[in-house]
Amino acid sequence: MSKLRQTPSQTVGPFFAYALTPEQYGYDFKSIADGNLIEGDVPGQRIRIEGRVLDGKGDLVPDAMIEIWQADGEGRYAHPADPRGSNVAFKGFGRMGTGTDPESRFIFDTIKPGSVDGTQAPHINVTIFMRGLLLHAYTRIYFSDEAAANTRDPVLASVPAERRNTLIAVRNETPAGAVYRLDIRMQGADETVFFDV
C-alpha cells in the first residue's frame, strides 16, 4: 500500500499564547497544561527546572514555547504504551512560553522522574517551538546528580562526549528546594544537542 505523505510542519509563530498557554499570559481561555506538573500529593522528589532559550547571537528568545514530557518518580509514563502505566496521579506533561518571565525563562515545577526502563538515566523529553523554527526541535534534559546513571545511558552515549553537557541540567540547592538549570542554545559553539526522534 502506498503511504500518505506526512503533513508538513509550519512554525508555531509569535502569536500562540492565547490558545496554547492562555492562562500563563493572562488570556481568558483555559489552559490544558502549564508550568506546574504537580497535582495533589503525588509522590516523588519535588524539583524545579528552569532555563532560557538563546539564539545564534546569544540573545534571549522571549517567544518560544517549551513542552516537557516525563515519567513519574518510578519511571512510568501515563500512557497506554507503557505496559506498567503510571500508578500515581501524574500526567507528566508541561507547557510554558518564555514570554512572561522578566528573564525569559521557562520554569517547570515537577517531580524528578525515575529511570524509564532500567537502562536509561532519569531524563525529561523536551520539545521546542518558536517563530523561526519551521519544525519543532527535540532535546532531553538529564540531571547532574545522576552521574553514574548518565554514564550508562544509551542516548547520552550516542552523543559526542564534548556535547553531552548541553543536555545535563545542573542541580542547585536553594531555600525553596532543588532547582535544575539548563539553557537551550539554538546555535553556536555550545549548541544544544537536538535529536531526530
Binding site: 508538513p8 519551521l134 537536538f194
Partner: protein
C-alpha cells in the same frame, strides 16, 4: 514485538534553515540532528481527551462572545486525522489559533493596526471522534502584514497543534485557503518542499457548508505511522 513510529519523512518537511524566512537564520539548529532509537520516552506522549474541553471550544464564533457575534465570514473547517498508513486517529486533541477577519491577533505583541473584534478570541480545541474526524466553526481569518521583508503579507491561515498518539507524532502546522494569491510570496509556506505544499491547502467543499450559515473547508492531517519492531 514492539510498536514504534515510522521515521519522519524529511522529504515532506521544511528545513530548519530557510533564509527567505529571516527568523530561521539565528534560530535554526546548525548541527546535524542525532538520531534517537525510539524508547518508551518517544512512543508515549501526553493524552488529552474530552475532559479538557469547554462546551464551546469547537466553535470560535461563540466561545468568546461578549456583546454580539464576531464580524466576518463564518466557515466550517473539518477533516480527519490519519496516520501515513491511512489509519484514522481517534480521540486526538487538536488545538487551533488564528487572526480575526481583519487579520489581527488577540496576542498583545501583534501591533498590526487592524481592529480587534471584542467577540472573537481566535483560540479553540476539539478531540477527534472514533473515525478521526474533527470539526471547527470559526471566522475566516484575514491576511496580515509582517516584518520579514518589504511589503510582506502572510496569507490567511489557521494554526493547528496536534499531539497524535506519541511524542514522535507531534505536529504544529498551518492550514491555508485555496487560491490565495499571497501563497507564492510567503516564505513560510514556500519553505515547504514544492511537491508537498498543496498538503497545507484546505479544499472548499460545498458538502461541508452549512446552508445560509457558513462555508465549508476540508483539511486532513497525516501523522507518522506505526510499525512493528522485534523486541530484544
Amino acid at each position: 514485538m514492539t510498536e514504534i513510529y515510522t521515521p519522519r519523512d524529511w522529504s515532506s518537511q521544511p528545513p530548519y534553515l530557510h533564509p527567505d524566512y529571516k527568523s530561521t537564520v539565528l534560530r535554526a539548529p546548525t548541527k546535524k540532528l542525532i538520531p534517537i532509537r525510539q524508547s518508551l520516552s518517544e512512543i508515549t506522549g501526553p493524552v488529552y481527551g474530552h475532559d479538557r474541553l469547554g462546551a464551546l471550544d469547537t466553535d470560535l464564533t461563540r466561545n468568546a462572545v461578549k456583546s454580539g457575534e464576531p464580524i466576518g465570514e463564518r466557515i466550517v473547517v473539518t477533516g480527519r486525522v490519519l496516520d501515513e498508513n491511512g489509519r484514522p486517529q481517534p480521540n486526538m486533541l487538536i488545538e487551533i489559533w488564528q487572526a480575526n477577519a481583519a487579520g489581527r491577533y488577540v496576542h498583545v505583541v501583534d501591533q498590526h493596526p487592524a481592529p480587534l473584534d471584542p467577540n472573537f478570541l481566535g483560540g479553540g480545541r476539539c478531540v477527534t471522534d472514533s473515525e478521526g474526524r474533527y470539526k471547527f466553526t470559526t471566522i475566516k481569518p484575514g491576511a496580515y502584514p509582517w516584518g520579514n521583508h518589504d511589503n510582506a503579507w502572510r496569507p490567511a491561515h489557521i494554526h493547528f497543534s496536534l499531539f497524535g498518539p506519541s511524542l514522535s507524532t507531534r505536529l504544529v502546522t498551518q492550514m491555508y485557503f485555496p487560491g490565495d494569491p499571497l501563497l507564492a510570496f510567503d516564505p513560510i509556506y514556500m519553505g515547504t518542499p514544492a511537491d508537498c505544499r498543496e498538503l497545507l491547502i484546505s479544499k472548499f467543499m460545498l458538502e461541508h457548508t452549512e446552508p445560509s450559515f457558513a462555508l465549508g473547508y476540508e483539511f486532513d492531517f497525516v501523522l507518522r505511522g506505526r510499525r512493528q519492531t522485534p523486541t530484544e
